[in-house]
Symmetry: C2
Subunit: 208 residues, 2 copies
Amino acid sequence: MISVSLVEDHADTRESLAALIDGAPGFRCASVHASAEEALQNIPKQNPDVALVDINLPGMSGIECVAKLKNLLPQLPILMLTTYEESELIFNSLRAGARGYLLKKMAPMELIPAIEQVHAGGAPMSMPVASKVVEYFQQRQNASSEMEKLTQREQEILALLAQGFLYKEIGERTGISFSTVRSHLRNIYEKLHVQSRTEATVKYLGAR
Amino acid sequence: MISVSLVEDHADTRESLAALIDGAPGFRCASVHASAEEALQNIPKQNPDVALVDINLPGMSGIECVAKLKNLLPQLPILMLTTYEESELIFNSLRAGARGYLLKKMAPMELIPAIEQVHAGGAPMSMPVASKVVEYFQQRQNASSEMEKLTQREQEILALLAQGFLYKEIGERTGISFSTVRSHLRNIYEKLHVQSRTEATVKYLGAR
DNA sequence: AGTTCCATAGGCCGTTCGGCCTATACCACG
DNA sequence: CGTGGTATAGGCCGAACGGCCTATGGAACT
């Protein structure tokens, strides 16, 4: 029996979701909450198996609610359920600790398997959401045109540099001398059009 | 009719996949390729609707193959199909331009809907893969808890620091003295548990 | 055989950074 | 009315950095 808590301010949506969950064999709606504040007070008492949270709530947003819930119940898998598919909302929700992100326009029948999936350790996402997440990784590809001009060795040294190692330590780790590290860095800086360690680090991190 | 090209070195896997695709109504296996090199030469001629690529290929890896294919055919949606679920392989595949990532251990019947999904602009991922992708976003959460301990002023200065400005320049931009910049930085470094500009920059960039 | 790229190595020198110290003024909370 | 947190400011000093210079050996391509 998987118990589910809902956080949703619209009364009718809330009730139809509760009915849908209670109507599915093996699922139970543990509690419903009309606001983030109320949810934070009461969900820990219920200790459900899964939480379904709307983003657009009065007062504290659903995203903040997820972050605070994660602090109280780090093991609780949380699903966002919302109308919005803006990238920023998606990414912020995931950063806050949500494990899945569903759009309300999806077929209600798909909700139950999604709850099952997130309970089993999965990360259910509606199709356009998964696309945006994948595209997030690909953006970083563009900035790496300058990075491609670096030789293997140079990339290796840059990776260490970006982790904060001293020139001396980079030399030890790669088996070359301090002077050679500096020679490589000179070339790296020129190729990346930067003049400092920090700028090189920013470019390096931005390109992955 | 959705046409699919395969890149897979194991002959038996390759043939059973081809048979599976040709056996599905509305799907056609456009071509099969045993190596990345061969695929790069011939897939552009076939111009399929979808490509399925294995990671573990002799010679050029499947990930490199995806990157080069993306250059030749930027619109082609590519699905990785592989045994490995290491995070680095997943992330590198997505960075290279793959739109989905499937594990071979999944049920063969799920392959066809996944191809359909990626062709429709989706991003199909096997359950453990989607989990790892979501967890990638959550890592950033940890680093930002330290960031929250910084005062407004400190965050402002850190932002400039992470862009590579000299202490002197940071002072000019914020209207405070060089010495005060250093005082703030001392506190910032202590709060973030770092001892260099580069480490602070990495934490800062990782938390956004 | 010559050219070009890469990895290796070093010297010199001024600038920047970061650790350690102290100090004042303000504001809020108890 | 003290206590603590924040923003401001400075001195001293050694370590680290980065710009400039040159140089050699190997690999690859022409």
